[in-house]
Symmetry: C2
């Protein structure tokens, strides 16, 4: 399904000069995928989509050159980094160039509380680098060990750490972004403050990010903790109390219903049969207070320093969308949803959804702050029947006030909770991608006004 004529491809490559490219179809096809296959629906829709070639800029000057060449030849361009997304963010819908930005991984500078870093830096590498100076990223996805900071900002919403700082969309969580426009003469634009939100969660369709300025959090010594409960609602109620306890420093609080822990491979020794668990990351100096708050309500079966160095599996890799992955390892019939619970009726709504789909939607929750309130994100594991039933489950959630960001669609709009693009993001796209070359089809509200 290559989209480029061989002559266009040849002229394009000639224009790229010594910038590394890959045209081996097998490699290009493999790299044109991300983790969209968690969704059986996307798996059908996106299977086989591929770029024509991979281009791997070595620095921002290379990015400018690629952008200019793509604009000149009207060749689609899809940005790709770690490829850990689940929405086909890195899948070129109309072929063209797959821009692998992993080489733009330099930490430009750090100062207390802020860093400036290349888009392709892996988040785990960033945190390792920052460790000695006492800082760490404020939040990261469960894919931290392979994902990049740029991919997270372009496609993520929040994650481990959002129980403290809220999501990426909250003021102050992305300080600045530097983007290259896709034009014959590309411009480099620095977006600061609110303006930086123009590139958040638009899947690379609103300019090619080359660098990011990110706020940092003071680094704590984190302790991975598993607490076992007889009942999921007890785990949730305690998790909620711990989330609300501002004197207890934590990074993740994730209640997980039985029988999900039975799929948790290496963690199974700490997860008795038929029990629900709470996974927590607690700052070491807060551990005593955490236990004091727990009292006799649950049993701690594991307590060990968080370790996400190579070869280790930190507990956060059982939370957020890694829960789904842990189950998919042995049961390919499941998929997932993305829920946001209302902060003012939280426990009531969790119980209501539980009763509605007792064996079909298996809940796990991640406490977060959202607009300054403690609530839950939830990525339940769904025993998949068919698309109709999945859409019915979504509808039944939304009718009852549990918002769904649908992960079974591939456009920016449909996956949004608002089913639309923020006005300034759409306007900005006209400015930075006038020909609509950045993964055409991904932002479906956009129509180019330029031929």
């Amino acid at each position: 399904m290559n989209a480029l004529s061989s002559s266009t491809l040849a002229s394009l490559i000639a224009d790229l000069g010594d910038i590394p490219t890959v045209t081996d179809a097998k490699i290009v096809r493999r790299r044109s995928r991300d983790f969209f296959w968690y969704s059986p629906i996307l798996n059908e829709q996106l299977d086989g989509k591929s770029a024509d070639l991979i281009v791997a800029p070595r620095d921002e000057a290379d990015v400018v050159r690629v952008a200019a060449a793509c604009a000149r030849h009207r060749v689609p361009l899809t940005v790709r980094a770690g490829g850990t997304g689940n929405y086909g963010q890195a899948v070129p819908l109309e072929g063209g160039v797959l821009l692998d930005v992993m080489a733009l991984a330099t930490i430009e500078w750090t100062k207390p509380g802020i860093m400036r870093v290349g888009v392709g830096a892996k988040m785990n590498a960033i945190d390792t680098e920052l460790q000695s100076s006492g800082w760490e990223l404020r939040m990261h996805p469960s894919t931290k060990r392979t994902a990049t900071i740029g991919g997270f900002v372009a496609g993520g919403s929040g994650g481990i750490g959002s129980v403290n700082y809220g999501g990426l969309r909250e003021p102050g969580n992305i300080l600045a972004a530097r983007v290259v426009t896709v034009e014959e003469e590309p411009r480099i634009i620095e977006l600061r403050g609110d303006a930086a939100q123009k590139i958040n969660r638009t899947y690379g369709t609103t300019g090619i990010i080359t660098a990011l300025e990110m706020p940092l959090a003071p680094a704590w010594k984190w302790i991975d903790v598993v607490v076992v409960f007889d009942d999921f609602m007890e785990a949730t109620a305690f998790g909620y109390e711990a989330a609300l306890a501002d004197g207890i420093v934590k990074k993740v609080l994730a209640p997980i219903t039985s029988p999900l822990p039975s799929y948790f491979g290496a963690l199974k020794p700490y997860c008795p049969d038929d029990k629900s668990i709470l996974i927590a990351m607690i700052a070491e100096p807060s551990l005593e207070s955490f236990k004091s708050l727990l009292g006799g309500r649950g049993t701690i079966t594991l307590e060990t320093p968080t370790d996400d160095s190579p070869g280790q599996v930190p507990l956060y890799e059982y939370t957020w969308n890694h829960t789904t992955l842990q189950v998919l390892k042995s049961d390919r019939s499941v998929t997932y949803l993305q829920c946001l619970y209302p902060h003012d009726r939280l426990l009531e709504k969790v119980a209501e959804m539980r009763d509605l789909f007792p064996d079909e939607v298996l809940q796990h929750l991640e406490f977060i702050r959202f607009n300054g309130r403690v609530t839950c994100s939830g990525l339940p594991v769904v025993r998949y029947r068919d698309a109709d039933r999945l859409n019915e489950i979504i509808r039944l959630h939304e009718e009852r006030g549990v918002y769904i960001a649908n992960p079974h669609v591939f456009t920016v709009e449909d996956g949004s909770r608002y089913k639309r693009i923020e006005a300034d993001q759409l306007g900005f796209k006209h400015e930075v991608d006038p020909y609509g070359l950045l993964n055409p089809g991904k932002m479906r509200s956009f129509t180019s006004t330029r031929p």
Copy 2:
């Protein structure tokens, strides 16, 4: 109004050996006061109350000796440190010993996120000491420059920093307390976790605290900011947004209504006539995000690093109960209240109270977290008419869902929002102070069962 016979006094002093004492009536009377005079009602009730002597233990062993002697002779004992409280916490209601614990000021140890410190350490000295290791106290009152950690824990509820960590009563904000009992053979009790709450806000009536284990916060470079608004409700609405913005690191957010800033001495150049202001402490790396959130809604007139070194006046000394003090400096006819607004109807209730007492109750608010929710504490300046009207104002607040911790009463119970003592605090008092010698009358629910 000395309570001790000269023979009891002489035997007591003999029993104290070489522990320093002061019996000069003038000095003893002066030290038997705190800042209760903010309240015209307390000022009448407590004026003239005095200890018989000051005893100044040099270490915990001295404290034990004093406690034993007081128990043996059935002499009342009132603990006193910085004397910055407003509820007569340091005022001996029935004379006896005034125990000055300021010499117990040693930092026993610090480790990442935790310190253990003597009860009499000044909070400013603690923060200065911690600075180099990158830590600071999580919260402090506006009297930080003279108040001690023990006085804060024994009499305070929260303060600057509570917008992040909630109050002292929240889990994890007091890790442990060491107390000496008042018995013929005093015991030393270590209270950890929840149990440490037994000495929080009981004004020294539940044991003599000698040391505290306190959680620490990562230290930021704080910037003092004044933002000017045409209207108080605009200042409050913006302050609320900033409080809810979890990506913006702050330590205080205090909207202050016109005309209060006109009383602000050295700050007046930054406070245009008839305007309301917001006082903020923002972490330097979050300052750009703070301004981005502000947009054009207010005007920043001051932006300077927080400096609470000797001779400097940090902005937090215009917030919390220092606002009252600033006004009292030139107008002795005012007093104040202590309000807690409901988190779910915050702006509505602030506006409602404003309309109810437009010129009589002058609002300033301090955003805090309380039980995990963002809300406001408020210590409005009240143009005082008489006690009846003051009680009517209190009633009108409470009827409308704004809770009042009454600062015009001197017992623990009456000043509490719950008008009672927590059961475990009362029980604990029987254990540590069986004869009821710790400032008798201060905890009025307590009746000694021992002669």
